[in-house]
């Protein structure tokens, strides 16, 4: 229990979190993936995010998994994100395996679950490549091009800018609560539980001032947007065209698409010859 509270507090080291998120967003502009056209990547994602769900062939899935693992490597993803990915895959299927064994399954249970784990892994890695590898502004523009709601692309760009500010503010509020508070003793076991609940209560209470502050800030944001004619610009196609003029399909995009297609075909061929 002590370890748990400790690890929660560790995770709340805001500087670490903030660095990781910012690094993930803006720290990998120079990679091959970041240089690709967001539209091409979104189409690519549509394929690698959907098709694995309908495949049950172990060889093809393994091939696709290796490929998306390579693209993830090329996109230089922050370690925190990769750690979360592993945790996510385990929590999706790993616990099911344990539960199935508990209910009297045996080795035959492993094979279908392995297929499912691979499916989840391929889809998640493809999404990590696209959504973490790309600069948020480019991603937002790519989505806008496909006719996604403007609110969504606005939210993405806005989120990356507001997050560091919000985190810092939350940290300050939390620290000031901690300074004024009197935490319960945590020597005994009930004391430790009380301490954990005290920490959770503190976090919840910290949202009270944060809500009021953010309300003020969001009013300022929206009013600033209104002054710049945001809602008018949303509906105006000329503005949209100017905004999207930066998107260009280059030779690199062609190579990337060709490599993906060739790799997928190869996987299918290998699975056709292999006895599995």
């Amino acid at each position: 229990m002590h370890k748990l509270t400790e690890s929660i507090l560790d995770k709340f080291s805001m500087d670490y979190l903030r660095n990781q998120v910012l690094k993930n967003a803006y720290g990998n502009d120079d990679t091959v993936i970041a240089g690709l056209d967001p539209r091409v990547l979104l189409v690519w994602y549509l394929f690698f995010g959907l098709v694995p769900w309908f495949l049950n062939d172990l060889v093809i899935l393994l091939g696709l998994f290796i490929f998306v693992a390579l693209t993830t490597r090329a996109a230089k993803i922050a370690p925190l994100v990769l750690f979360l990915f592993c945790l996510g895959v385990f929590s999706q299927t790993g616990y099911l395996l344990i539960a199935a064994l508990f209910f009297g399954g045996d080795a035959s249970t492993v094979a279908p679950l392995l297929v499912m784990t691979l499916k989840v892994a391929v889809v998640s890695l493809a999404s990590i490549t696209v959504f973490s590898g790309l600069d948020p502004d480019r991603l937002a523009n790519g989505m806008l091009w496909f006719g996604c709601p403007d609110q969504l692309s606005f939210s993405i760009s806005f989120a990356y800018r507001i997050l560091p500010v919000l985190m810092e503010e939350f940290q300050n509020i939390l620290l000031s609560y901690r300074l004024r508070g009197n935490p319960p003793a945590k020597k005994t076991f009930p004391g430790k539980i009380r301490y954990l609940f005290y920490q959770i209560k503190l976090i919840i209470q910290a949202f009270y001032p944060l809500m009021l502050n953010t309300a003020k800030r969001s009013r300022t944001t929206v009013e600033a947007l209104e002054i710049k004619g945001y809602r008018y610009a949303l509906k105006n196609p000329t503005v949209k065209k100017m905004k999207l003029a930066m998107l260009k399909v280059t030779r690199n995009d062609g190579i990337f698409a060709a490599v993906s297609i060739v790799w997928t075909v190869l996987c299918v061929l290998v699975s056709a010859v292999s006895p599995l």
Binding site: Y45, V51, Y95, A100, L212, S271
Partner: protein
Amino acid sequence: MNAKNKMTQSQKMMVFVLTMSLYGLATLFTELIPSFQVGIVEFSVEYFLFIPLTLAMLFDPLSAALGAATGELVFSEIMLGQFGGLGELEKFLTVTIGVYIAGRIVKDPRNRKVVAAASIIGVAVQQFMGCVVDILKVQFAVEDFEAVAGLPESVFFTEGFACLNDILFSGILFCMLPTMYLAPRLYGKIEPLLGVKPRDKDTMIAGDYVLTPKMVGMVLIGFAAAIASELLASGGYELIDWEAAWAGNTTSIIIGIIVAAIIALIVIGMIRGRAVKNAETKQA
């Protein structure tokens, strides 16, 4: 209805931005807080749903609900690269529906009993829908679901228990109690910051939407019925058998992949075409 009592478009936008950033921040934390497990039972700080719940009770419920869902999508999924594609749609919809319903129920945020009931109903609705979808997902993803020893029972057991556990543990501890604490306290304090009148009988959103609570209820019943029928239908596992039959040989897989790629391109072309057409009609 007095025009003064209605929220303007930009005020709705403010609520959207407010909920999005706050709930996004909170989900980012929950994504990182480790959950501790007792056996196979997972006790996790599932989410900080009290934030959108409180805001939906104080402001326009629809904006708050959409803001919360978008915030979760953008902050914890896209920013951390955990975007699961279509799977996120389910979360988006369930969060929106749950928060919206809770927000519509409350007429006076100072009434703690109603606030408590509304928040627990919102959570229950959201969790239940999520649970049903989760079970269906495993059924469709695993080939020969029934044939794998111990799998169906374990899925029903773990999912059902997780759902109940989330409603009782996270629901009461992290949604109901904080909302009961925050909603009455913020009432009358946070509204002036956005230039909105506090919610009372006059400012209660009404006639503003095509969606009435009754209609939402109908939609929900429809949703439940659809899922129930889906469950019954897959009880015979006809769909899965059919799928397994053609997915067995390689040629069909190749054809399937090609067809999927073509369909993807066509869909994109259609989306693009519609977007251009929309832009043109707007320009004209």
